[in-house]
């Protein structure tokens, strides 16, 4: 479908289009605040591990789609073919409009409109995620998520509850992310994050507002047994 070509064109063109300011010009303190929505999916800093997105330690100059153990989309893997790395400009363009820059990316994020905000973000990531902040071997879920995972989820109830989800989430969906392939820890953690509104989204906040721990456990059991 011409995705790699599109990406190459975007990379080539980015040198001509007005590039965002380099990381050196950004304000890392502002960037930390701006990183909050990213933290719903990404960890950065000491002990960072892969969550819904890969950890972002050492992201500046890190080869695209190179974190071991993270299942990147085909689109992102193709974008990283040949060892191409994230430089200031590529990060700036990606964060401005993720799905225009890497069509088909699994990162569900609308993008950061303001060029100054993007520079601040890149400066923060550069400062916070030094490469020596090595990822820990395993991610421990939060106590709340661990308690849900410890419940014996009722998969049949989960199947019934999932009929609400299939109105929007389809297998292979990209405009709304597919959820049937998510690992149970990430699936439950995402629902908890929407429920306590640490992750903001009008629809998902409303959907999860009436899910108790038992419902989340049931849904997790259903989606885990579905694949």
């Amino acid at each position: 479908m011409g995705r790699p070509a599109l990406f190459a064109a975007a990379l080539a063109g980015s040198g001509l289009a007005a590039p965002g300011p380099a990381a050196g010009e950004g304000d890392p303190a502002r960037g930390e605040t701006l990183f909050r929505p990213c933290a719903a999916c990404h960890m950065i800093g000491p002990g960072a591990v892969n969550r819904i997105g890969p950890h972002l330690n050492g992201i500046l100059d890190r080869p695209i789609a190179s974190v071991e153990g993270f299942a990147y989309s085909d689109a992102m893997s193709e974008a990283g073919a040949g060892g191409r790395a994230w430089d200031d400009t590529a990060l700036d363009n990606f964060l401005a409009a993720p799905r225009n820059y890497v069509p088909g990316t699994a990162m569900v994020f609308r993008g950061v409109h303001d060029a100054g905000d993007r520079a601040d973000l890149v400066a923060y990531m550069d400062a916070a995620g030094t490469p020596d902040a090595a990822p820990a071997a395993d991610a421990a879920p939060s106590p709340e998520v661990a308690a849900i995972l410890a419940l014996d989820g009722d998969a049949a109830y989960g199947a019934y509850l999932s009929s609400e989800c299939t109105a929007c989430h389809a297998a292979g969906g990209s405009d709304i992310p597919a959820i049937d392939g998510l690992p149970p820890e990430l699936f439950a953690a995402a629902l908890v994050a929407y429920r306590d509104r640490s992750r903001d989204h009008q629809v998902m906040n409303t959907v999860t507002a009436r899910l108790g721990d038992e419902e989340i456990a049931a849904l997790t059991a259903h989606f885990a047994s579905a694949d």
């Binding site: 109830y157 299939t166 969906g173 990209s174 709304i176 009008q202 959907v207 009436r210």
Partner: protein
């Protein structure tokens, strides 16, 4: 943005759906009348959840269902017409007997459904999801006989294509008029999304044209969002005449192409008449209505007149849910769970419903309104709700539009397989 990337094999797939009314004697029988948003979902979920334990027959006259949802986007040029069509091949493959015929009557004592093509289908439970019909004489001067001169395009298909052709043929600086319906009607934001899409088309192709809306309602769904959007994108193009200024007192003359609002005659080039609505005719034929609509229990969508008949979607008077495709799909799942529990020993779970309606105002300017619902003795009641805000960033609006694309793909797959 790519409009043609979602193409459905509507008509081709329908050819596979050769009706075969083969019945195993011992399996309980469910007949579903109407293969739209509610009926198709109910048929699929009953067949799947009973794992073949229930014999499901779907009665639907059309070979392909054209969705009303997203039909406004076709008017605006954001969708191909073919992308709105869905065949019944997926349902037939899923083990459902698809009978392309009209149901003409229901014998509630004998528990049979009569078909226009002759013969009748026996049932243990009956599901009706026949959508809407129009209330005769609700717009003086208009009748179904004038739907070619003044299309409603409120049942999708050829009516939608006709309306689009008429908009394309408007003279420079012409007038597009809409007679908006009184409450309740299918898709509360539908007429106003349509106005937005027509305005989008006209701004590109016929910028001096204008839009005139005669509206009997004081206020309408997402009004603030639409009016803010019209101001931003289509300033000076759209005029809405509400009930205070006679918007509810209209008359049309399809031969002369005039619309009379509160005694004042307007010459118009296109007149989209959306009449008052009521439950599909079969509901009235079976005397399951109370007035225009069919009262149902919120717990399982069973008729208040007959507990072995479940009525879904637009036809049902169920309480707080809007008449939408999303709502019909949601109600169908609750009814299916109750039916499988009653006939095939399935587990019964508490009823829960949800709805979200997206509307597109202009390119990448999407808005949404949604809610979750539960059952009560009085009807379906809202638990929690949300709505897009005025002044949201362009990114949020573009994201909302993309969500609606994801929703369309997911929900049509959920309905038709």
């Amino acid at each position: 943005m790519g409009v043609s990337r979602r193409v459905f094999l509507g008509t081709a797939a329908a050819a596979l759906a050769a009706p075969m009314v083969v019945r195993a004697q011992n399996r309980p029988r469910v007949v579903v009348v109407g293969g739209g948003a509610g009926g198709a979902t109910a048929a699929r979920y009953i067949a799947n959840d009973s794992q073949g334990g229930i014999d499901v027959t779907l009665v639907e006259p059309s070979r392909a269902y054209y969705t009303c949802f997203f039909s406004n986007l076709y008017l605006g040029g954001f969708r191909e017409f073919d992308s709105l069509g869905h065949g019944y091949g997926g349902l037939a493959t899923g083990g459902i007997n698809v009978v392309h015929d009209w149901a003409t009557g229901i014998d509630r004592d004998a528990k049979t459904v009569a078909l226009a093509g002759g013969g009748s289908l026996p049932y243990d439970r009956l599901v009706l999801s026949p959508g809407i019909d129009f209330v005769e004489d609700s717009v003086p001067g208009w009748s179904l006989a004038s739907q070619n001169a003044m299309p409603h395009a409120y049942k999708a298909g050829s009516q939608t294509e006709l309306l689009r052709a008429q908009i394309e043929a408007m003279p420079e600086g012409g007038v597009f008029a809409m007679v908006a319906p009184p409450n309740p009607y299918r898709c509360p934001p539908g007429p106003y999304e349509r106005v937005s899409m027509v305005a989008h088309y006209l701004r590109e192709h016929n910028p001096s044209a204008t839009i005139l809306i005669a509206d009997p309602k004081e206020s309408y769904s997402k009004q603030g969002l639409f009016e803010d959007g019209w101001q931003t994108h289509y300033a000076g193009m759209i005029q809405r005449i509400g009930p205070d200024f006679g918007g509810g007192n209209v008359e049309v003359d399809p031969a002369a192409m005039t619309l009379t609002i509160d005694g004042q005659v307007e010459n118009v080039d296109v007149c989209n008449v959306i009449p008052a609505q009521r439950a599909g005719g079969i509901v009235h034929a079976a005397a399951l209505n109370d007035g225009d609509w069919a009262p149902v229990s919120a717990y399982d969508l069973s008729s208040r007149e007959d507990p072995e008949i479940h009525i879904l979607g637009d036809s049902a008077a169920q309480g707080a849910m809007p008449k939408s495709g999303f709502a019909a799909n949601s109600q169908a799942k609750v009814a299916a769970n109750a039916i499988v529990a009653a006939l095939a020993d399935g587990r019964a779970f508490p009823p829960r419903f949800s709805n979200t309606c997206w509307s597109l105002i202009d390119t990448d300017d999407g808005v949404k309104v949604g809610a979750t619902y539960e059952a009560s003795d009085e009807g379906i009641v809202s638990v929690d709700s949300f709505v897009s805000q005025i002044g949201e960033s362009a990114e949020v609006r573009a994201e909302t539009y993309r969500e609606s694309l994801g929703w369309y793909d997911a929900i049509t797959a959920d309905m038709f397989g």
